[in-house]
């Protein structure tokens, strides 16, 4: 009987416990949400205006873009202590970690450069001149290409990571804010906030192969501003945050058509999947909360209050108890 009870308890325990780390732009904090209880379990102070956030491969380090402190902070997620700062150039907003788990590619919005930092030596390895107001950052899965999008030049800049030089520049719609490679590295998606579109490129020859457009019944098209997005692990669907339209679009990655829109909190920025990919957590800047979406049914489940103006989101699995 006791054995049965223990077995039941083990079965009842979630197999993929985890946390979602959220940066709060106005509070200068990170909020930690427990994936099982869907509650904020810890809050840690950070530098000024934390935005982009990313974990090292082994989840032992959290990198935080503290935009107004002009630095990238390195936090120990176990203790919430800031271990040290990394040189990042002016106003870092978003960054991407190279698959070597060592080099950070940082977009410096005010300086029109992309800074490459070695997280081990804590030195700037290179600075690459790109367009005006660089914002979105991505590194290809094979680590050979880095992308910076510049908000004012309206371009995606293709950087060769071996030489740290630009080898292509491609035009996208107005104010590109976020870039992601598909898992196979074959396609690059770039969202344009003002243009209201996502442009899809073929990575091999940098040609445009598709355009995603959005239209929400009852919402002015001015408010439909695609920003952050994430692909599901199967590579079939993209979840796109649509800013002040308070919706997340579910996009078919083959047809580039929107399948449905999910209502979330106000001004949705970015998102992170739970460890088992069954839930998606979106940061809602204006309403100061995080909406949890059930991925299978594509419905919102709950909105969790965090700090003021939540912006970035990153997932960290925790050990099963």
């Amino acid at each position: 009987m006791t054995r049965l009870a223990i077995l039941l308890m083990i079965l009842a325990l979630p197999a993929h416990a985890g946390e979602i780390w959220i940066t709060n732009e106005k509070d200068d904090t990170v909020s930690v949400i427990d994936v099982d209880t869907l509650e904020v379990v810890r809050t840690y102070p950070t530098g000024e205006r934390p935005r982009g956030v990313i974990f090292s491969k082994d989840f032992s380090r959290l990198y935080i873009c503290a935009s107004d402190s002009n630095t990238v902070q390195v936090m120990d997620p176990e203790t919430g202590k800031i271990l040290h700062d990394l040189p990042s150039g002016e106003d870092p907003e978003q960054f991407a970690l190279h698959p070597d788990d060592r080099h950070l590619f940082i977009a410096n919005e005010d300086d029109a450069v992309t800074t490459v930092v070695d997280t081990q030596t804590r030195q700037v390895v290179a600075q690459i001149n790109v367009g005006i107001e660089p914002e979105g950052m991505a590194v290809s899965p094979d680590g050979k290409i880095a992308i910076t999008t510049s908000e004012t030049t309206n371009m995606a800049h293709w950087i060769d990571t071996a030489t740290y030089t630009l080898f292509a520049n491609t035009l996208v719609d107005s104010r590109p804010r976020h870039a992601e490679f598909t898992a196979d590295g074959a396609k690059l998606w770039v969202s344009s906030e003002i243009g209201g579109t996502i442009t899809v490129f073929n990575v091999a020859d940098q040609t445009e192969v598709g355009k995603v457009r959005f239209e929400i019944t009852g919402v002015s098209s001015d408010l439909v501003q695609p920003v952050g997005f994430k692909f599901n692990p199967e590579g079939t669907k993209a979840f796109v945050a649509l800013g002040p339209s308070n919706h997340v679009a579910v996009v078919n990655m083959t047809t580039y058509e929107v399948e449905t829109y999910i209502l979330v909190g106000r001004r949705v920025w970015h998102m992170a999947f739970s460890p088992d990919n069954s839930q998606l957590f979106t940061t809602n800047g204006v309403s100061g909360d995080v909406t949890v979406i059930d991925v299978a049914s594509e419905t919102p489940v709950k909105s969790i209050k965090v700090g003021r103006f939540p912006w970035g989101a990153a997932m960290r699995p925790t050990k099963s108890q």
Partner: protein
């Protein structure tokens, strides 16, 4: 045993009426659907309504209005079922019913229960159409809502019964419909959350809070999400007791209006 015979006879009669009057069923279904598809469309709130319990995230207006429209079905049906009592009285079948050798409260309760069961069927049909339309609720809600609908339906039916005991003619009843149904429906949380009412005027909000229909709607709203709103349940139960007592008094031949000379 005779008690059950009476109950089943009354249920049977109500069921016959339900089956026989298809148009009544359709009309009762169309009313909330028009509100859902036309009225709610105008207030769609595509950008989402603020979070109020029992909702855990942002919702559109269509989702907000569903419990209120279930309440509307119960309210209209409760009144209509009582209206049929006025008709029964005019036609004389009431006399037959009330001369049965059973306590009057049992006969009236049977009538009340029969009417409420019909209302619940109509709510189920309404929720089914809404689900087809894409407004789906947690599965557990569809079960938990049944007792909430029963309690609320009995309360609103008792209100109708109480009113019908004081009305001698069908014509008068129509007036009461206007003076009771509409204020009750509009002065409640059926169409707008109470905080919205408070923005317009705190006094309006207070009136809504006193309205037992508000509590019936909130009871249904929480139940649809598998939650119990005990405060609302208490309010509805108290209202049910008060209305039932008044209805019994109204139908008491010694004291009620039955014996008064018209």
């Amino acid at each position: 045993m005779t008690w059950l015979v009476a109950l089943s006879a009354i249920l049977h009669r109500e069921a016959l009426r339900f089956v026989g009057q298809r148009s009544r069923f359709v009309a009762a279904l169309v009313r909330p659907l028009v509100w859902l598809f036309v009225f709610a469309a105008g207030f769609r709130a595509a950008l989402g309504l603020s979070i109020t319990p029992p909702y855990q995230t942002y919702i559109t207006y269509e989702i907000y209005i569903i419990p209120g429209l279930c309440g509307m079905i119960l309210l209209f049906n409760g009144m209509q079922s009582s209206l049929s009592l006025v008709y029964d009285r005019e036609m004389g079948s009431m006399r037959l019913l009330l001369t049965a050798p059973l306590p009057r409260w049992w006969l009236l309760f049977s009538k009340l229960l029969a009417g409420t069961l019909v209302s619940i069927l109509q709510c189920a049909a309404f929720l089914a159409v809404a689900a087809v339309w894409g407004i789906r609720l947690p599965l557990v809600g569809y079960l938990v809502v049944i007792p909430a609908l029963l309690l609320s339906g009995l309360m609103l039916g008792a209100l109708g019964l109480m009113l019908s005991s004081f009305i001698r003619q069908l014509e008068n009843f129509a007036g009461v419909m206007n003076f009771v149904i509409f204020p009750m429906f509009f002065l409640s949380s059926a169409l707008y959350p109470l905080w919205r009412m408070a923005e317009a005027s705190p006094r309006l909000r207070d009136l809504c809070t006193l309205n037992p229909f508000t509590h019936a709607v909130e009871l249904i709203r929480f139940a649809l999400y598998g939650q119990a709103n005990l405060m609302a349940a208490l309010w509805v139960t108290v209202a049910l007791a008060v209305f039932s007592a008044a209805a019994l008094r109204g139908y008491d031949p010694a004291r009620g209006v039955q014996n008064r000379k018209g």
